[in-house]
Assembly symmetry: C2
Homo-oligomer: 332 residues x 2
């Protein structure tokens, strides 16, 4: 039985109220003590929806593309929820770009919900918080979710675990580390979008990607071969094709069962993310109380104890607490 304020919040979400949706996402993002109660109500009501992940290197024009995709989806009558994942910044106190200046033309549309999420790191779990936010949006009737991530690396792999169709956006003429990035992104792409396709070098870029896809081994080779499309997002060129390609990927993924197995895998990661968060939060709280973490940290710092032994002690303390204590983080 949920308490009054949680009930009101959840009812607001289910009625599609934007302020309730925003508040519920914050509660879940912060790992607020009522997060569990909120998720208990939201999670069973968040079936359906389709999450499109948009990632790629800086400068690829991802935000402009998301903007154009939003315009297409709105024209088709869909309600669109956009989750933009920014790198952490203590400078800005959170999300760097706020609600994305370039998307301002959608901000007055009640059927477009835009939210920036910061990657805070301390309690980890970007996959978890992005999935929680997507659940809230789906429960609130925003069934087309777009997750955009700035940057490259492990972050993207993480966030992409929360998406049903992954667009990897590349542009011609990014030098140097781009080979590394392309290799890293190759295995997560469902559709390659060659943006700024009016630039020189787009043919070569496409040829490179095709070659790399031809060399794919292991898991990557077993997956559906990604389509490669060209766009000029600033003038919406190629956007119809892209929308059709996303629909084709969805249809194929649903027919082959790969959509289901990806969601099953996502459940696992989400769950493990929560497990990790809980134990780290417990240890951090313990540091204020009994000093178990502080003490272990100091011993590691002085090199009197190695990190593995210190970790073992903390886990033993945790097990003891679980046996004797109330057993729930956030209540005690």
């Amino acid at each position: 039985v949920s308490s009054g304020p949680v009930r009101a919040l959840v009812d607001g979400v289910l009625a599609g109220e934007v302020t309730a949706i925003a508040r519920a996402i914050s509660v879940l993002e912060d790992g607020d003590p009522v997060a569990r109660e909120v998720m208990k109500e939201i999670h069973p009501r968040a079936s359906g929806g389709w999450i499109v992940g948009v990632t790629g290197p800086p400068g690829a024009g991802k935000s402009t593309l998301v903007d154009a995709l939003t315009t297409s989806a709105r024209a088709a009558g869909e309600r669109v929820g956009i989750l933009a994942v920014d790198p952490t910044s203590a400078f800005s106190g959170g999300a760097v770009l706020g609600d994305r200046i370039r998307m301002q033309r959608h901000t007055s549309d009640p059927d477009v919900f835009i939210r920036s999420m910061a990657t805070r790191g301390n309690f980890g779990g970007l996959c978890r918080s992005a999935s929680d936010a997507a659940d809230v949006l789906v429960a609130g009737g925003f069934d087309r979710i777009i997750m955009e991530t700035v940057g490259v690396g492990q972050d993207e792999v993480e966030v992409v675990r929360a998406a049903d169709t992954v667009l990897v956006v590349l542009v011609p003429g990014l030098g140097d580390d781009i080979q590394a990035i392309k290799a890293g992104l190759l295995e997560i792409a469902d559709v390659f979008v060659l943006n700024k396709a009016d630039r020189d070098g787009v043919d070569r870029l496409e040829a490179e990607i095709s070659t790399m896809l031809g060399l794919a081994e292991g898991e990557a080779a077993r997956r559906r071969r990604p389509e490669i499309l060209r766009t000029v997002a600033t003038s919406a060129e190629g956007l119809e094709d892209l929308t059709a390609a996303i629909a084709r990927h969805r249809a194929d993924a649903e027919a082959s069962g790969s959509a289901e197995s990806r969601r099953r895998e996502r459940s696992r990661w989400r769950l493990l993310d929560v497990v990790r968060e809980r134990i780290v939060r417990w240890a951090a709280k313990e540091a204020d109380g009994h000093g178990a973490l502080d003490d272990a940290q100091e011993k590691v710092f002085r090199r009197e104890m190695d990190p593995y032994e210190a970790a073992e002690r903390i886990l033993r303390a945790f097990a003891g607490m679980k046996r004797d204590g109330p057993g729930e983080e956030g209540r005690g």
Copy 2:
């Protein structure tokens, strides 16, 4: 008391043998069951050393800069250990760029150790594995450590926790998302390196950084104001100044106690990384044995249970195991 093979491995590391160092890093990276025994011996012997972290957006010329820094350090008689952190790739089976083609001129030098580390994600803990590898290198007599990371985002913040001096490398003329990147990197920089400084726009880039530094609040404002230097890494221009700036940062950080507090903080993160890894590994192993994780995952997937409730059940199972069982992952 360590068993024979561990003893031999540790002795090899302490004697500075490159093959033993490489093997020990692998053992720690994989979370091999003998990792604990190895770290027990290595950790107390890994005092000293100075870790320089090099990060920045793709295309900034980080690898060339690391190469030039290595040449300088070698000229000063230092033994250099380089840890290059690449984005995960199942395609390449790990590190994308292998041992970095551009650094091949150092590969025949026995006093330069180069190692690529992949960000695997599954068991997390890049900060942990980078710190473990640095310990091995320091114990083996490589007292100048350079950690290079490709990309932007949370990864960098993580890796940078393992560094004593952080260089943020930027170049003029990277468009679009660069503002976000700069903001994210601003708070972790000890020294800004404006590379490719012969390009147009370097004055404007420096002015932007100065402005952003002037606006710094909170923790970032309390830190030593980062120096801003210009280099052309390909021709080693500005490298002497950069080496001197790193030395100044080190001297200041040691005098002010900030080096110590950063290392203390690092001990905490390292420890928490191990805690996280252990419990996730336990849950994954449990999945094969008793099916606790598989069962919970399936319930979450079917939306019969929310991830928070499922996590709570797993933690209870873990606490029960800790009480009754041998209590050590990797032994049972």
